[in-house]
């Protein structure tokens, strides 16, 4: 039995790209339905628990590909529920990147300056705040002190975290139990619902087809405990479809739709970027931390890897626009819980084999509280390509939750490898100085490279050959289909991308409103921030006059 329904606008996914567009469209008067493949988990269901089946396996999606594995959100709120809430704006030079194409990757209409008002709208809505040294955890402080000792700068990271509520429990990858992390569950999504938007969790969109006046979205209903099991299917007809299923899923949905939609732009499922991400683990000598850096607290010199709230300190010395492309990167102190954060870590200085298991690795684990994980975000070469789609979803699911095998292939080019090598060398230079620590990058041999920030698999641009979307985020040749998630970002950003994905979604809304109006939907643009604040709206309004309301 197939359920049938309709809406003005159907939004696929409830992360930044989906929640922001859904809020504005619902507030503007459209009937909006959002489909989310994952569960809708409330704050008091966010467990401090590693047990399989607790919130951290329910709300995550870990898809292993060939040469690249992708960690993403899988719940109402998407990436915002599982992310670390580090929210820097992208430095200006990134918008001028050319990659290997020999032309600007970003649309000419987008620069840091033109994106600034949209960043401001997001900053006001979540909100995002600049942190100070009193917010910086022991691990962040250790990284900052090591950077300073090596003659580098280090910044407290801007974050969407309510410091008064945060307990520094470091369980934020399982969802924030204390509502300190400003996920979309606390702003855009409840505001969208208040304006009549409907969120349907455990609905996995498989493909789109055409109707006389729009599109039909085909979904399956996913079992709430075993995501390999489906329980029924249905369709929803809509005049406008906003795809925001994440960069690991949006291109797969489109690939599966190609037979019915007709020829897709060649860039769908190509030019995937892992945001140039790479991880290093340092194991610190507590005595040297005290002697060389002069750090100590009531529990020791450092010995506090478990304490904190993800990344707090970031080093931006190599975000220098005068350096050659592919050699610019952020180094950010990070926390991954045991499991995710321990298995791929290699034994520093072992030299021999094996590097990631065995007696020496066990000894390394005994020093886990003295670990510091450093996260590189560099400029990769958009070398990821999606193969033929799996039968359903974005992966062949292996475990009941979280783990699957996908079709992404990623063979890092010499450009990407050069950036990673430069970043690894910089991490070593900073952290091994004067015997502070021993450092080794994570192995790429087991699950390939590893990204928590998939991007660019269905990107905006000015060149139809290399961008699937125009600069209004509309799928070329398929009017009424918009893509507003990380797949729309043209390439690696050298910083955490959530803020930019969100700002681009804010920027895309006026164009979607205009398209909906053209399709006969009674909808306007101009909602304030989800809590009613209007200052950022006032700044952005002049920018949309040409985009909405004229016709």
């Amino acid at each position: 039995m197939t359920a049938r329904d309709s809406a003005d606008i159907l939004v696929v996914g409830t992360g930044f790209g989906g929640a922001i567009t859904a809020y504005h469209l619902a507030a503007g008067g459209a009937k909006v339905v959002m489909l989310e493949r994952g569960p809708w988990v409330a704050s008091d269901e966010f467990d401090h628990d590693f047990l399989l089946g607790s919130s951290y396996t329910r709300i995550f999606d870990f898809v292993v590909g060939d040469g690249m594995s992708v960690l993403g959100g899988n719940c109402v709120g998407g990436g915002s529920v599982v992310y670390f809430a580090a929210m820097p704006r992208v430095p200006g030079f990134v918008f001028e990147r050319r990659g290997s194409l020999g032309r600007r990757m970003w649309p000419a209409s987008i620069t840091r300056d033109t994106l600034e008002p949209w960043y401001d709208r997001v900053a006001e809505s979540l909100p995002i705040t600049r942190q100070d040294w009193n917010d910086v955890t022991y691990s962040g402080g250790l990284f900052a002190a090591a950077c300073a000792h090596a003659g580098r700068t280090a910044n407290p990271a801007p974050a969407a975290i309510d410091r008064d509520r945060c307990t520094n429990c470091n369980w934020m990858m399982s969802g924030c139990r204390f509502d300190a992390k400003r996920s979309l569950l606390l702003n855009y999504l409840p505001a969208a619902v208040a304006h009549g938007a409907e969120i349907r969790p455990l609905h996995e969109v498989q493909r789109l087809s055409r109707t006389p006046d729009g599109y039909r979205v085909h979904y399956t209903h996913i079992d709430g405990d075993d995501y390999r099991v489906t329980a029924g299917e249905g369709t929803i007809d809509a005049k406008i479809v906003v795809l925001a299923a994440g960069a690991g899923a949006t291109p797969v949905i489109l690939q599966r739709s190609a037979a019915e939609l007709g020829t897709l732009p060649p860039a769908v499922g190509r030019y995937f970027s892992g945001n140039g991400e790479r991880l290093n683990t340092a194991v610190f000598d507590e005595d040297r931390v005290r002697e060389v850096l002069g750090l100590h607290h009531p529990g020791g010199a450092y010995a506090a890897s478990q304490v904190g709230k993800g990344p707090c300190v970031t080093s931006w010395d190599r975000l220098d626009g005068t350096l050659p492309e592919f050699e610019r990167f952020t180094l950010e102190q990070l926390y991954f819980p045991p499991g995710f954060g321990t298995i791929l870590a290699q034994i520093p200085g072992a030299g021999g084999e094996p590097t990631w298991f065995g007696p020496e690795k066990k000894e390394m684990l005994r020093r886990w509280q003295s670990w510091l994980t450093i996260f590189t975000m560099s400029e990769d070469d958009n070398e990821g390509v999606f193969g033929p789609p799996p039968p359903t979803g974005n992966a062949v699911r292996i475990s009941q939750q979280m783990l699957g095998r996908g079709s992404l292939r990623y063979d890092p080019t010499p450009n990407t490898l050069r950036g990673w090598a430069a970043a690894d060398a910089e991490v070593k230079d900073i952290l091994e100085r004067d015997g502070l620590a021993t450092v080794e990058p994570w192995t790429n041999d087991l699950v390939g490279a590893y990204t928590v920030h998939p991007l660019a698999s269905c990107r905006i641009g000015d060149d139809p050959a290399t961008s699937a979307l125009d600069d209004r985020h509309e799928l070329r040749g398929h009017p009424g289909i918009f893509v507003t998630d990380g797949s729309a970002v043209p390439g690696a950003l050298t910083v955490n991308p959530a803020f930019t994905i969100a700002a681009l979604a804010e920027r895309a809304v006026p164009g979607i409103v205009r398209a909906a109006q053209d399709h006969g939907v009674a909808v306007g643009y101009g909602a304030p921030a989800p809590d009613g604040v209007t200052s950022a709206r006032r700044a952005a309004t002049p920018l949309v006059r040409d985009m909405v309301g004229g016709g």
Partner: protein
């Protein structure tokens, strides 16, 4: 993957234990322990509950464990043949291998060019998780019971309500100069 091994779960267990023990090695549980090689002091993945974790339906491989054990023993026998090693026939072939040879087999099976790599990496990941996260137990209970992996990591206990809070978390002082191009929002220009 519903193949039933002639020996059943009890027969496969020593082989799977020997695999988990190669990933996170531990001390022998007693003088007659053959599966655990005794290659490292203190409890390892087996004592941490690797078999209990592998047998959870949530992993998605519980129904394939007989096949895993049979395949691992086949690889062990082939490895022994190549190396000219005599195996004690009273235990499964992988269990009969000395620790260094078990390690060599696991390295080969998880190497990037091995055709079965995905399967063996998966088994290694779950073996690791039994030690690093006790993913077969509620973490509060694992901490309370002194789970050997969480103890080895020095994983701090929760508050009385089962939630973690760290009221002391910061050195609370400026520890570096910020980048000169930092703007008012805290980002780079």
């Amino acid at each position: 993957m519903e193949t039933e091994s002639p020996t059943g779960a009890a027969g496969r267990t020593p082989t799977l234990e020997a695999f988990a023990d190669t990933i996170v090695p531990g001390e022998k549980r007693g003088p007659d322990d053959r599966a655990v090689a005794g290659a490292a002091p203190g409890p390892g993945a087996v004592a941490a509950g690797a078999i209990a974790l592998l047998e959870m339906p949530a992993t998605g491989i519980a129904d394939a464990l007989d096949d895993y054990a049979a395949a691992l023993d086949r690889h062990a026998r082939e490895h022994a043949d190549r190396r000219g090693l005599d195996l004690d026939g009273s235990v499964p072939p992988f269990v009969a291998l000395p620790f260094a040879e078990r390690t060599a087999v696991v390295r080969a099976l998880t190497a990037p060019d091995h055709p079965e790599k995905d399967l063996w990496v998966l088994l290694a990941l779950f073996s690791n998780m039994a030690f690093d996260t006790a993913a077969h137990m509620h973490t509060t209970e694992a901490v309370e019971q002194g789970h050997p992996g969480l103890v080895a990591l020095g994983f701090a206990p929760p508050d009385d309500d089962g939630l973690w809070r760290f009221p002391r978390f910061s050195y609370r002082r400026e520890l570096a100069s910020v980048h000169p191009d930092t703007d008012a929002t805290g980002s780079l220009t």
